[in-house]
C-alpha cells in the first residue's frame, strides 16, 4: 500500500490532536501502519497546532513541503499558511469559518477576505473541499465538535484506507459517552459534505 500523508492544521483549542489520534486508533484497529507526529509546544497559548499522520509503510513521521496527499485545515488562514505542504495534485479539505489571530486586532496585519483565500487555494491545488465546518459543528450541537466534522469530511473523500464505520466505532470507544451522539452527528455532517463533493 502506498503511504498516504495527511497534514492537519488548526488553532490551539480546536481539537486537531484528538482528531489525529482517533485516526491513529482506527488505523491500528484496521491494521494499517500509522505514524503521527505533532508540534504543540505552546499550543494552548493560541498558536498554531500542526499534526502529521502517515498511513502506510513509510518510516518517517513528518511530512515535507509538497508531500502532503491531503491537507486538512480547521481554519482558512491556517490552511493558506500551510499550503506549501501541498503539491498541485493534493487534496485540501478546510473550514472556511475564520478565527482571526489577535495580531489582527492590534493592527499587526489584516485578515484576508475568506473569498480571496478560497480563490488562492483553488488556483494552487486541484482538489478542494471548502465549507463552513463551524456551522455544521454548531448544527451538531457545539462548535467543540468541529474536529469530528473535519474527521468525517476526511473520511468522506474515500482517500484514506480506513472506513467511516471504523472511525465511528473508534469515536465510540475513545471519546466521552456523553458527547457520543453529538460527535457522530458532526462526523456524519462532515462526511456528507465531502462524499457529495467527490462523487
Amino acid at each position: 500500500m502506498d503511504t498516504i500523508r495527511i497534514v492537519i492544521v488548526a488553532v490551539g483549542g480546536q481539537g486537531n490532536l484528538l482528531a489525529s489520534h482517533l485516526l491513529g486508533e482506527a488505523a491500528l484497529a484496521h491494521e494499517v501502519p500509522v505514524q503521527i507526529s505533532e508540534i504543540h509546544g505552546m499550543a494552548q497559548r493560541g498558536g498554531v497546532v500542526e499534526s502529521s499522520v502517515l498511513l502506510g509503510k513509510a518510516r518517517s513521521n513528518v511530512i515535507s513541503s509538497g508531500e502532503a496527499d491531503i491537507l486538512v485545515g480547521f481554519e482558512p488562514l491556517e490552511t493558506l499558511r500551510a499550503i506549501g505542504k501541498c503539491n498541485k495534485d493534493s487534496m485540501v479539505i478546510y473550514n472556511t469559518a475564520p478565527l482571526p489571530p489577535f495580531t489582527v486586532a492590534i493592527g499587526m496585519g489584516v485578515y484576508p477576505p475568506v473569498e480571496e483565500t478560497v480563490e488562492l487555494i483553488r488556483a494552487k491545488v486541484s482538489k478542494n473541499i471548502a465549507f463552513d465546518a463551524s456551522s455544521l459543528a454548531r448544527q451538531a450541537g457545539t462548535l467543540l465538535s468541529l474536529n469530528m466534522v473535519m474527521l468525517g469530511a476526511l473520511a468522506g473523500t474515500g482517500m484514506i484506507p480506513i472506513s467511516a464505520d471504523m472511525l465511528k466505532q473508534t469515536i465510540g470507544e475513545k471519546t466521552k459517552k456523553a458527547f457520543l451522539e453529538m460527535n457522530l452527528k458532526a462526523f456524519d455532517l462532515g462526511y456528507s459534505v465531502s462524499a457529495g463533493a467527490v462523487n
Binding site: V11, G12, S20, H21, G24, E25, L28, P33, V34, Q35, I36, S37, E38, I39, H40, G41, M42, A43, Q44, R45, G46, G47, V48, A58, R59, S60, N61, V62, I63, S64, S65, G66, E67, L77, E78, L80, R81, I83, G84, K85, C86, N87, K88, S90, P100, P101, F102, T103, V104, A105, I106, M108, G109, V110, Y111, P112, L120, K124, V125, L143
Partner: protein, 616 residues
C-alpha cells in the same frame, strides 16, 4: 487500570513516544521516577504522576533537574531501578552531579532521559546531548521509532546494571511527541526496597577515592564499547559500495529516501542506536566495504567525527562527509525531502521531487502564541508598564510569561535560561547604573532563582525582583511546584511559602500584590522600584487555565458599551488580550474567550466595558 500498566504481552497499543518510555520503564520493573518538566519531555513525568498510586512506582516532580537526578540516582545506588527525565537544557542544570555520578556508578539500573529539541520548537537552544555521553563517559542510546523507544528504555536498565553505570536515553521531539504502534512486553517484578551498606571510602568522592573510581569508569567504558559492538541496536542493512551511517529519527528519512530513489540495492546503511561508545569493529568493517560514506545525523557531527577517527585508525582515505556546504546542516531538524536531496546529490543520482505549491501569499497575519485571555501575567506587566514605562531594564525568565516579550507589553529585554533573570539583572544594573526589574515565575524561582536572589541581597544590588506566582508550572502543563499545596491532587505535599523564604533571608522591601487590582498594583510597584536596594514583589494570582482543571469557574464575561466607548482603544493597545477583536472599527469582546478578569474594565478611561448580565 491505566492501560500502560496492562500485563498483556503482545497487545498492540498506540502510544505517544513519552508514554512508550514510561511503559519501557514499567516493563523493566522501575521503582523510582523523578523529573523536572520541560518540553518535549514533560509527559514522561506526567504519566508517572498519573499512574504512581496504581503502579507502586514512587514519583516526584523535583525542584529542578539536578535534584531530580540526585533523588533518582541515589535510589539506584541503593539497588532499585530508577529513571529521571528532563529536557536537553535541563541536563546542563544536572551536569555537575552527572559528571561525578559517572565516577560513583550505580547498583540498580539508572536511566537518564534527555529529550533534545532540534529546531527549538519550545526551547532556547538546540544543543546535542549525545555529547554528554562523550563528556561523562556514559553510554548513550538513541531510538529511531516509538516502538524502539520502549524497547531501548527497558534495555537501558539492563545495560546500566550490567555496567554499574547510568545510561543516557537520548530522544528528540519527533520521538517524544510522536505516536506509533507499540507491542507490549511482560512486566518484570523487581524489588522496590533497596539497601545501602555503608562503604564511605568507596562512595565519598574525595580525591583518594575519585582517583580509583576514574579508572573504574574507564574500565566500564571499555565494557560498554564491547556491548556497543555486539548490540542489536547497531545493525547494517542493504549492501553496496556506497554507505550511509545514521542514527535516531534520521534513520527513518534515510530508509524512505533509499526506497524513493531506488537505491536499496546500491547503498548499505549502518544504523547506530547504541551511539556512545561507538561500535568500533562494526564501523571499521563498514568503512572497509565502502568507496564513499555519507553520515546522516541531526545537529552536531557527533557520528561523523567518530567515524572519521576510526577511518584514520584503519588507514582508510575514502570520502566520509556529513555536515557542510551542500550537505547536512548543523542547524535545525531534518525532513524526509531534505535528506533525500542530500543523498541524491552526494551519490550523484537523480532526485524526483514533488514540487510544493508556492507560498507567494502576501501579508498573512502571524499567529504567535500569546498570553491567554485572563492571564494574570498580562495584568502584572501592564501595571509595570504603567508604573515605570521603558525606564528600567527588564530581565525575564523561562515560562509562559516569556511571551510578555511581545508588544504591546514588551516586558522582556533579555531572557536566556532558567533563573538567569535575577543574576543578569544584578550584572546589568552594576554595568549600566540603571534600575533593573527581573521577572520570574514561581516554578522557575524555586528551580534556579533562589541563589540569584540571595546573591543580589548579599552583594547589595539595586534591583526589583517580581516573582509571578500563579501556583503552578503552566507552560509545561500545570505540574505542581514546591509552592503548590497538593491536596486537590490527592497528595499531602506542602506548599512552601515564597514570602517566608524571601523575608526569611532578610529582603527589606517585600510587597505581595494582587495583579487584577490594577491601580493598587501600580502603586505598590512604584514603591518597590523606588526602594534603594533589593526589593521583591510577589504578584499572586492563580493561573485560570490551571484552576479550571480542578474547580468549576463561574462564567462572567464583559462587553463594550458602544454608547460610552470613544474608541481610544486603550484596552486593545495596552493589553492586547486575545478576547478582543475588531468589528469594523469597534473593539468587541469575544464572549467565549473572556473569563472576566476585569483588567480591561479597570484601564478603560470611559468605563465603557461592562459586565454582561445573564440573557444580555
Amino acid at each position: 487500570m491505566n492501560e500502560l500498566l496492562l500485563d498483556s504481552p503482545e497487545k498492540k497499543m498506540l502510544l505517544l513516544g513519552n508514554e512508550a518510555i514510561v511503559r519501557g520503564a514499567i516493563e523493566a520493573g522501575v521503582a523510582v521516577a523523578t523529573c523536572y518538566p520541560g518540553t518535549p519531555s514533560s509527559e514522561i513525568g506526567d504519566t508517572f504522576f498519573k499512574i504512581q498510586k496504581e503502579s507502586g512506582v514512587y514519583f516526584e516532580y523535583a525542584i529542578n533537574e539536578k535534584v531530580a537526578m540526585e533523588v533518582a540516582a541515589a535510589a539506584a545506588l541503593a539497588g532499585v531501578r530508577a529513571i529521571c527525565s528532563m529536557k536537553h537544557v535541563g541536563v546542563n542544570v544536572a551536569a555537575d552531579f552527572l559528571m561525578s555520578l559517572a565516577y560513583e556508578g550505580v547498583k540498580g539500573g539508572f536511566v537518564l532521559v534527555s529529550a533534545d529539541d532540534p529546531s527549538m520548537f519550545s526551547s532556547q537552544n538546540e544543543q546535542d546531548n549525545r555529547i554528554y555521553g562523550k563528556f561523562s563517559g556514559l553510554p548513550v542510546l538513541e531510538p529511531s521509532s516509538i516502538a524502539e523507544a520502549k524497547e531501548m528504555t527497558r534495555y537501558a536498565f539492563e545495560l546500566s546494571e550490567m555496567l554499574q553505570e547510568p545510561v543516557i536515553l537520548r530522544t528528540t521531539t519527533r520521538i517524544n511527541h510522536s505516536t506509533g504502534v507499540v507491542a507490549l512486553g511482560p512486566i518484570a517484578r523487581k524489588n522496590h526496597l533497596g539497601t545501602f551498606p555503608k562503604e564511605p571510602l568507596r562512595n565519598t568522592l574525595i580525591p583518594s577515592v575519585s582517583t580509583k573510581l576514574h579508572k573504574l569508569l574507564l574500565a566500564n567504558y571499555d565494557k560498554a564499547a564491547g556491548q556497543s559492538d555486539t548490540s542489536p541496536y547497531n545493525f547494517v542493512f542493504g549492501e553496496g559500495k556506497w554507505g550511509i551511517i545514521t542514527s535516531g529519527i534520521s534513520f527513518n528519512y534515510v530508509t524512505d529516501a533509499l526506497q524513493d530513489l531506488d537505491l536499496t540495492s546500491r547503498v548499505g546503511v549502518l544504523r547506530i542506536g547504541f551511539s556512545h561508545p561507538l561500535p568500533d569493529k562494526m564501523i571499521k568493517d563498514f568503512i572497509a566495504k565502502c568507496d564513499k560514506i555519507l553520515i546522516a545525523e541531526e545537529l552536531e557531527p557527533y557520528l561523523e567525527e567518530g567515524v572519521k577517527v576510526k577511518a584514520q585508525e584503519i588507514g582508510s582515505v575514502i570520502p566520509i562527509r556529513g555536515k557542510g556546504e551542500g550537505l547536512f546542516s548543523r542547524a535545525y531538524e531534518f525532513s524526509p525531502s531534505m535528506v533525500r536531496k542530500v543523498i541524491a546529490s552526494y551519490f550523484g543520482v537523480d532526485c524526483p521531487d514533488k514540487e510544493a505549491v508556492s507560498v507567494d501569499v502576501p501579508n498573512i497575519p502571524q499567529r504567535p502564541p500569546n498570553l491567554c485571555a485572563g492571564c494574570p501575567h498580562r495584568a502584572t506587566y501592564a501595571a509595570m508598564r504603567q508604573a515605570c514605562g521603558d525606564e528600567p531594564i527588564y530581565t525575564n525568565d523561562i515560562g509562559c510569561y516569556t511571551l510578555g516579550v511581545l508588544p504591546p507589553l514588551s516586558m522582556s529585554d533579555i531572557s536566556i535560561c532558567m533563573g538567569a533573570s535575577i543574576g543578569m539583572g544584578a550584572g546589568l544594573g552594576k554595568a549600566t547604573g540603571r534600575k533593573v526589574v527581573s521577572f520570574i515565575g514561581d516554578s522557575t524561582f524555586f528551580h534556579a532563582g533562589i541563589p540569584g536572589l540571595i546573591n543580589a541581597l548579599h552583594n547589595g544590588h539595586d534591583q526589583t525582583v517580581v516573582i509571578m506566582d500563579n501556583g503552578t508550572t503552566s507552560m509545561t502543563g500545570f505540574q505542581p511546584d514546591p509552592g503548590t499545596a497538593m491536596e486537590n491532587m490527592g497528595f499531602n505535599n506542602l506548599g512552601v511559602s515564597i514570602e517566608a523564604l524571601v523575608t526569611g533571608i532578610g529582603v527589606k522591601h517585600v510587597a505581595v500584590v494582587k495583579p487584577f487590582k490594577f491601580k493598587k498594583t501600580v502603586e505598590q510597584i512604584r514603591e518597590a522600584v523606588a526602594f534603594k536596594g533589593l526589593s521583591v514583589i510577589i504578584s499572586r494570582e492563580i493561573c485560570p487555565m490551571y484552576e479550571k482543571t480542578f474547580k468549576k469557574q463561574e462564567k462572567r464575561s464583559y462587553f463594550v458599551d458602544h454608547g460610552k466607548c470613544k474608541n481610544h482603544r486603550v484596552c486593545l493597545n495596552t493589553l492586547a488580550c486575545p478576547a478582543f477583536y475588531l468589528k469594523g472599527e469597534q473593539v468587541e469582546i469575544d464572549d467565549s474567550s473572556c473569563i472576566g478578569c476585569t483588567l480591561c474594565v479597570q484601564v478603560c478611561p470611559e468605563n465603557a466595558i461592562r459586565l454582561k448580565k445573564i440573557g444580555e
